[in-house]
């Protein structure tokens, strides 16, 4: 077991290194934007560009740059630990910016996760208990609609209906609790949460339904029923426990995936989260910012994978470690 975890941890490390190196290759070696030329200004003579390149540390060979980057991540830089570098555009440390944006992404992701669990799982359960009923068909229709409707369409449609036409909800933008209070924060988050959660809720409903139907056909459920347990108890105690394990697994992975930024939701609703920041950075050539967001996203995903696998190993003794 310990050996397994150590091996997996090593793999997490290797994955992170590979991902950041790929990021380096894409954004530093063949950058879509040359930040040094932009920063050199209106008359970017070769001498000026070279000077900026030196100040940005872009004059060294790529492998060295990459090694320095890794070193800074582990050992910290002039702005503290972990060394996330500085923004080319503002010449200021990235760490506080990334931290703040991560918090916004976290609020979006956690809120949406609560919502999709609260909506998706019960729908899945109800559907599974009455397969082929009207309710089931409606629920599965909703689920298919959910996975087929992209955020970038649903978002503007919701804004049009609930903000512009009905005036029930405020428009886009992030309004922090600290600055505007819980109420304002909450009403502004309702639409982003809902829009982001829809596809997940649909997916979770389908998954819960499928799992539960399968579990309810197992022998031990029949045994439980044969013992004369009430149906409620059978479902709640035996059926749900087994069928929700994969849901928990999935939740970990999905949250991990979202923590690197829910890029389109953040763009549609103008939330200053990590995803939004990463897109801006790609377009403006703020290379360290891209790298930082990538590393956070990759770290969240690989870590979530690791945790899920380990949890799974505890939950399911059939999984073997080799």
């Amino acid at each position: 077991m310990i050996r397994y975890i150590v091996r997996r941890l090593l793999w997490v490390l290797v994955t992170l290194l590979l991902i950041t190196f790929l990021t380096y290759l894409i954004f530093f070696v063949m950058p879509p934007v040359h930040p040094e030329v932009i920063f050199a200004g209106k008359q970017p003579t070769p001498e000026l560009v070279a000077e900026v390149r030196r100040q940005f540390g872009l004059d060294k060979p790529v492998v060295i740059q990459y090694a320095l980057f890794v070193k800074r991540i582990f050992l910290g830089d002039e702005y503290g630990w972990p060394g996330l570098g500085f923004s080319f555009n503002t010449r200021s440390a990235l760490k506080p910016i990334i931290y703040e944006r991560f918090l916004i992404t976290l609020q979006l992701a956690l809120g949406a996760a609560v919502l999709w669990l609260v909506v998706g799982v019960p729908i899945g359960i109800l559907s599974a208990l009455r397969p082929r009923s009207i309710l089931d068909r409606l629920a599965m229709g909703f689920a298919l609609f959910g996975v087929s409707t992209p955020v970038f369409f649903l978002g503007p449609v919701m804004l049009y209906v609930f903000w512009f036409k009905l005036g029930w909800l405020p428009g886009s933008g992030f309004y922090s609790i600290a600055k505007y209070g819980v109420g304002t924060w909450f009403v502004h988050m309702i639409m982003p949460w809902s829009v982001l959660a829809l596809a997940f809720a649909a997916f979770y409903a389908r998954m819960t339904r499928g799992n539960l139907i399968e579990v309810m056909g197992e022998d031990y459920i029949r045994t439980a029923r044969a013992k004369g347990l009430p149906e409620r108890t059978v479902v709640a105690k035996h059926g749900l426990r087994a069928s929700l394990t994969p849901v928990v697994t999935m939740l970990g992975l999905d949250l991990g995936g979202l923590l690197g930024g829910a890029l389109i939701t953040e763009t549609v609703f103008n939330l200053q989260g990590l995803g939004n920041y990463a897109v801006q950075s790609v377009f403006s050539g703020d290379l360290y910012a891209i790298l930082d967001v990538t590393i956070i996203a990759a770290f969240a995903v690989t870590l979530a994978n690791l945790i899920v696998d380990i949890v799974y190993a505890f939950l399911d003794p059939r999984v073997r470690y080799t």
């Binding site: 894409i26 804004l159 994969p246 991990g256």
Partner: protein, 332 residues
């Protein structure tokens, strides 16, 4: 490693079953059984009919535009705009879906958008399937270091921030006329197709690998091996035919997610050339500057086209899976 999905571009619904390989389907008269079962699924058949109609519409779009509506997709009817460039003509007899901020016919652009969407989604899915089959079956059949490399590549690709990387690659390849990789990848449809295929092949690759692993040691394969058949021959003649069913199902289910992927890239303004009609781009045009408050039709029609198409592919994919996989009969 579990299934990793990317938030908003939609994930293959196939992901549900993808984590653990499902059992192989070896029917007695498989295609007949499949067809009988599929035909009974009226929703799936309806969705299939819709898709065929859509494909026809896409193919005949130039004819419809030119001979029926008499508006070309890039023709500018600037007298339909007011002084500050806002569209004044909504859905009407002349412009069925209204006009956009350039005075272009939204109906014509919507049916042309179907061409872009279907083309990119089908091509990229095709490439992803080919790549997935190739790498997945090699990994599953050969095992050893090949399996390690391919499996790790799959894990790695699935851990990447897909949209971010896609934007980066698309932006990199779009600056000059030559594109990137020495002109191999041209900006435009081929670039978008390549990017989407690059990030979707692991879904197929993983399923194929799992399937190959389970049938690798079956008697008929060992028999073929004993008779001296080479690796390539065994894979082509004996292994692949047994994978047809799951590949068709998951391939079909990846198409809608690839449609959304293309639309997402267009929405973010990378990939498809600006004058090529694309639903994602049309939605993004309507969303910026709150234009939908003035011209709701710019948002509604391409958006609904996108949702309905994605939905139809998902329904057909579900139907195919139900029809091909005997297990799902229980759950309906």
């Amino acid at each position: 490693m579990g299934q990793v999905r990317d938030e908003e571009i939609g994930e293959p619904v196939a992901a549900l079953g993808a984590a653990e390989p499902t059992s192989t389907i070896i029917g007695r008269t498989p295609w007949q059984i499949f067809w009988m079962r599929f035909r009974k699924d009226r929703v799936a058949v309806g969705a299939g009919v819709f898709l065929i109609a859509l494909a026809l519409l896409a193919i005949t779009a130039p004819l419809i535009a030119h001979d029926l509506v008499h508006h070309d997709p890039n023709a500018l009817f600037r007298d339909t705009l007011d002084e500050i460039g806002l569209p004044t003509v909504g859905p009407s007899a002349e412009f069925w879906f209204g006009v956009d901020t350039s005075g272009r016919d939204v109906f014509v652009r919507t049916i042309y958008g179907a061409r872009t969407s279907l083309l990119v989604a089908l091509l990229s899915t095709g490439f992803a399937v080919v790549l997935g089959i190739l790498l997945g079956s090699l990994a599953g059949y050969l095992g050893g270091w090949v399996d390690t490399v391919v499996s790790r590549a799959i894990d790695l690709t699935l851990s990447l921030p897909v949209l971010l990387f896609s934007i980066g690659i698309a932006a990199t390849c779009s600056i000059t006329a030559e594109g990137c990789l020495g002109g191999l990848i041209q900006p435009g449809i081929s670039l978008v197709t390549a990017i989407i295929a690059l990030f979707t092949w692991p879904y197929i690759g993983r399923i194929v690998r799992g399937q190959v692993l389970t049938i690798r040691n079956k008697e008929f394969i060992e028999a073929a091996r004993a008779m001296g058949a080479g690796t390539g021959r065994i894979l082509l003649r004996d292994v692949l035919p047994n994978l047809a069913a799951p590949i068709i199902v998951y391939g079909t289910l990846i198409i809608p997610s690839n449609i959304l992927f293309e639309a997402a890239l267009s929405f973010l303004g990378v990939g498809i050339p600006p004058t090529t009609p694309s639903w994602g781009r049309m939605i993004s045009d309507a969303a910026r500057g709150q234009l939908y408050t003035v011209a709701w039709w710019m948002l509604f029609f391409p958006g609904m086209a996108l949702v309905l198409t994605t939905l139809a592919f998902n329904l057909v994919g579900d139907g195919l899976r139900d029809a091909l996989d005997p297990r799902t009969q229980v759950s309906g």
